[in-house]
């Protein structure tokens, strides 16, 4: 007997629209004057993965939230295992060509364990955070959540996959916030990372340090914690140059180029300059679907993956871009709503975590096309060509549908 599952149709509708938009964009990405190999027919594969995703979403939505909770730690350990394996056996692709992100058998690329890891970490972190009764008072109580995120983070950064690393950091803070950790606490936790970033200039770092001191004083932590935070900041400041050296040269160049793309217009800056030209020359209405000249003449690199949004910008103009951004906004707000109306803390955290994951992807990927973010190789949900990502996005949709249906939703119901 088919149990009627209440589906959150606005969410599904938005996801379908985004997927359609995305597949059309991948199709356009393949329409070039210059031969681009498999990209011309990439849209067909993307369509298949989309289909698989729909099916997967349906299957997943049949499972109960308790099931998710149960499977969280199994999935998590599996993800850790795969992440370790890929460090040994993995290979790279696209703008992440030098990273070991992909599991391949023979010449067949199976998938990226980091995709699974994102999902698994969300589930695991939600489980850990929902197991607590009250908001943590001391930072030290957050050691377990930090560990849950930290271990895969380190494994990811060893690939090294800076983009996914950023995603983990983003979802860590987002989920902590959602679980009740105060903004100030979050800031203090984040302070070493901020310290790391600001360490490029001693004066700026010094100002930050003074500010931090005031914040710590205001927060009134335990002495050990206070000292710990300050020490962590200082050590980050010192570690900064060491960590800089440990980045591969092309990643260093990427960060430098992010600050000034014209520094290396032929190589690293090239991608982003061409992307900006493509987008900027699109104007209000764009040059027409499949007719973008930058894309057609192969000036725009990675037009089917990392820079797919530049194709949208060039061909459909500002109007097209705004529609896409509006759809994403609707998606996020919808998921936040689901998180707010969830039945229990676990579901709520999972939903919010998924929203945060998508949010970081969107902001970083789209930001990258305009040189607002450094080039990191993370895909755009529902758009970027990539089977495993499309699949996991739709699995996430399935989970969200389930959470929504078990939540305090009202008439947002559509029987399947």
């Amino acid at each position: 007997m088919i149990k009627r599952v209440v589906a959150d149709w606005p969410l599904v509708l938005i996801a379908l629209l985004l997927s359609a938009y995305g597949i059309a964009s991948v199709y356009s990405a393949g329409q070039t004057e210059v031969s681009v190999g498999y990209v011309t027919v990439a849209w067909k594969r993307q369509l298949l993965w989309f289909g698989a995703g729909i099916v997967g979403a349906y299957i997943v939505s049949r499972g109960s939230v308790r099931f998710y909770e149960w499977i969280a730690d199994k999935a998590y350990y599996l993800a850790l295992a795969l992440l370790t394996v890929v460090l040994v056996l993995g290979s790279g692709a696209g703008t992440a060509a030098s990273m070991k992100g992909w599991l391949t058998i023979g010449n067949v690329r199976l998938g990226q364990p980091s995709e699974l890891a994102k999902l698994a970490v969300v589930l695991m972190l939600a489980k850990v955070l929902s197991g607590r009764r009250a908001a943590p008072r001391a930072m030290i109580e957050l050691w377990l959540p930090a560990l849950v995120v930290g271990v895969p983070f380190v494994l990811i950064m060893l690939q090294p996959d800076l983009g996914t690393g950023i995603v983990f950091v983003g979802l860590f803070f987002a989920m902590l916030y959602w679980s009740g950790v105060s903004g100030l606490q979050l800031l203090l936790i984040a302070s070493p990372v901020i310290s790391l970033i600001l360490a490029f200039s001693t004066q700026v770092w010094a100002i930050w340090f003074v500010l931090l001191f005031f914040l710590v004083y205001r927060y009134k932590p335990y002495l050990i914690e206070g000292v710990g935070v300050m020490v962590a900041n200082v050590s980050m400041g010192i570690l900064a140059p060491i960590l800089w050296e440990s980045l591969k040269p092309h990643q260093q160049r990427r960060l430098l180029v992010f600050l000034n793309p014209m520094e290396d217009p032929q190589a690293s800056g090239y991608h982003v300059i061409q992307s900006q030209i493509a987008i900027g020359s699109g104007g209000w209405m764009g040059k027409g679907f499949t007719l973008g000249t930058q894309k057609r003449l192969a000036f725009l690199p990675e037009q089917h993956t990392d820079f797919i949004f530049a194709v949208v910008g060039e061909e459909l103009g500002f109007i097209g871009v705004t529609i896409a951004l509006a759809l994403f906004l609707a998606l996020f707000l919808r998921v936040v709503r689901i998180a707010g109306r969830a039945n229990d803390s676990f579901s709520s955290l999972v939903a919010f975590g998924l929203a945060a994951t998508w949010f970081v992807h969107v902001i970083v990927n789209i930001g990258m096309t305009l040189n607002l973010m450094p080039i990191t190789g993370i895909p755009l949900p529902f758009f970027s060509y990539g089977g495993s990502f499309m699949l996991t996005c739709w699995l996430a949709v399935g989970i969200l549908v389930r959470i929504s249906s078990e939540g305090r939703g009202r008439a947002d119901a559509l029987a399947i």
Binding site: E33, V34, L129, S130, R132, R133, A134, A135, A174, Y177, W178, S179, G180, Q274, Q276, I277, A278, I279, G280, S281, G282, G283, W284, T293, Q294, L297, A298, F299, G313, G317, F318, V321, T322, L325, F328, L329, F332, L333, V336, R337, A339, G340, S345, S348, F352, A355, F359, I363, I366, G367, L370, L372
Partner: protein, 589 residues
């Protein structure tokens, strides 16, 4: 965990707000890029995909005074390649080299050209033969970036006959590209390298046009059409010269292959240069498209120096032709008259510190100035020089412009030598290192006096008119005249009569007489320092004596006797004057 509904609501609102702000920020950034900065990006997008191919303009035609062609453009071909990178260019050129012959050096210089200007098609062959072009055209589909265009080629129908003044064109060199004279030029373009071609480069140069092609990110041509419309090339107005091509050809023929020297023929009243010749000649047509190495070596190694322009660059002691200058200086200062005799008669030599010979060992006897000019008596002029005095003679020479270049509109004119004052000798040889008797040598056109053939023609055009010289011009312009001496009309008549005597039975150029025309002029035999070789032969004169229409100055290297030069000069004058009476110039004299 605090999941009280109120807390959840608050966090929900905060999160939504944060997300909305982030999306708004992205939207604004896109607005800025796509709307505000649209123009700049669109321009970049277009620059990315369009490449400009220059359409070569023809060079201006050069005409003589009657509208005959001296220099023109004939159809030719240029082969260029649109290449994305030096390596790709090299690879493609290596493939070319199997079909048409291309040396490694040519390949490398093409690669250098690409590096210098990566956005223009690289010229591979600026003057390809029809065969080369056919071979490449057959394989065109293999080379998508290949551009074969009509490239007008320079041609001089009279070749060697006009080589002394027309010059030649060649591809612009890297050092020329760097110099400020050639701003706005790009590699692969032709520029004038010598002569008229170089002097009038701005006037002769056409304006390039453009064709646009679409290229992809790798710089490969995608399609030739559907870009911007062509901008056609524009050729310049033709250049009109004063040269009389008929005369020029005749003069070239006179010199032939065996003689060395130069000739300048001018209109004395306007300064229009009717003919300018230097022998031996070279063929400027062989310089077009790059000089073959063997030919260049042959020219450089020829002892007769065909590349050295004897009319413009060569400086020689004017010898007896200078005696007219001495005469003018003396007459103008009132130190002598045409019928004056000098204290000492000529017995073959004159003693002043040492023995100074006259060329006629037997001596001329006691001559008047008139007769001394006709017979070219050195002894007379030694004494005239003494009478004038070194200081005044030098000053006189300066006033007669023997220190100045003529200013003809051609590059590479040499500067003549004439001492500016007595101080010159002190500076040059040291205060005790020279002898005041140098005034004797100077008076007869030797010692520190070297003039170009052009300068002598210029001086004699003053003798042919009223004492004014006109600036020699190859290209028609309003004449610029300057008076350099003032003699009475009697003195002028007397001087001219004396000059006609030179070319009469009584004179040194008796054998150069021509029938029907009275020629006035002076011979000269210039000594030089090369042992064993005959002296240089000079003749400068004008005709017809009554109202001179042409001045001719001729110098034959190692000609031995002045009348050798005189014969050439009078033949040229006669030819010209016949043409003038039979067929007056059509373009207004």
């Amino acid at each position: 965990m605090s999941f009280h509904p109120n807390d959840v609501q608050r966090r929900s609102r905060m999160a939504s707000g944060f997300i909305a702000i982030a999306i708004a920020w992205l939207t604004m950034s896109f607005f800025r890029a796509q709307v505000v900065q649209n123009e700049a990006y669109s321009l970049q997008s277009t620059k990315n995909r369009l490449r400009e191919i220059p359409l070569i303009a023809p060079r201006g035609v050069v005409y003589d005074r009657r509208g005959q062609v001296i220099a023109e453009s004939v159809p030719g071909y240029s082969v260029s390649l649109l290449s994305p990178s030096p390596d790709s260019l090299r690879a493609t050129l290596r493939r070319f080299a199997t079909m048409i012959s291309l040396s490694d050096e040519e390949i490398e210089s093409a690669v250098r050209r690409l590096r210098r200007e990566p956005n223009r098609p690289t010229v591979v062959l600026s003057d390809a033969t029809f065969d080369q072009v056919s071979v490449l055209e057959e394989q065109r589909t293999e080379f998508p970036g290949l551009i074969i265009q009509a490239a007008p080629k320079r041609f001089y129908p009279d070749g060697p006959a006009v080589s002394a003044f027309v010059g030649y064109t060649g591809e612009i060199t890297e050092s020329e590209l760097n110099s400020p004279t050639y701003t706005g030029y790009q590699s692969g373009q032709q520029v004038g390298k010598a002569g008229l071609e170089r002097q009038y480069e701005p006037e002769l140069r056409g304006r390039e046009g453009s064709r646009f092609v679409v290229v992809d990110a790798r710089g490969r041509v995608v399609q030739a059409a559907n870009a911007q419309p062509d901008i056609p090339a524009v050729g310049p107005a033709p250049l009109q010269t004063n040269i009389d091509l008929e005369l020029q050809r005749f003069v070239a023929n006179l010199f032939g292959d065996s003689l060395q020297g130069g000739l300048v023929a001018m209109d004395p009243s306007t300064g229009a240069v009717l003919a300018l010749h230097s022998a031996p000649t070279f063929d400027p047509n062989r310089f077009i498209g790059g000089i073959p190495k063997e030919y260049w070596d042959q020219l450089r190694n020829d002892a007769r120096k065909p590349l050295y322009n004897k009319a413009l660059q060569g400086v020689y002691p004017p010898a007896s032709t200078f005696k007219l200058a001495t005469s003018v200086i003396g007459l103008e200062r009132g130190l002598v008259t045409l019928d004056d005799r000098m204290p000492q008669s000529c017995t073959g030599g004159f003693y002043y510190g040492r023995y100074f010979r006259c060329w006629e060992k037997k001596g001329h006897g006691h001559l008047t100035l008139r007769e001394a000019i006709a017979k070219s008596c050195d002894v007379y002029f030694y004494q005239l020089g003494l009478r004038i005095g070194l200081t005044n003679l030098l000053a006189g020479g300066v006033k007669l412009q023997f220190r100045e270049r003529s200013g003809i509109d051609l590059p590479s004119e040499s500067r003549p030598i004439w001492p500016y004052a007595v101080d010159y000798f002190n500076r040059r040889y040291g205060p005790g290192g020279w002898n005041p008797s140098v005034v004797l040598s100077l008076a007869i056109g030797q010692a520190d006096n070297s003039q170009t053939i052009l300068n002598m023609a210029r001086f004699y055009s003053a003798l042919a008119t009223d004492g004014s010289i006109a600036k020699p011009e190859l290209v028609r312009r309003a004449p610029q005249r300057t008076k350099i001496f003032a003699l009475t009309s009697d003195q002028m008549t007397g001087v001219r009569e004396a000059l006609t005597d030179v070319v009469s039975t009584r004179g040194t150029a008796a054998s150069a007489r021509i029938e029907g025309v009275v020629v006035a002029g002076k011979t000269g035999t210039a000594q030089h320092h090369e042992a064993g070789k005959p002296d240089h032969a000079w003749f400068v004169g004008f005709a017809p004596y009554e109202s001179p229409k042409i001045v001719v100055a001729v110098m034959v290297e190692y000609g031995a006797h002045g009348y050798m030069a005189a014969r050439l000069a009078t033949k040229a004058m006669s030819h010209y004057l016949k043409q003038v009476t039979i067929a007056p110039p059509t373009t207004g004299d």
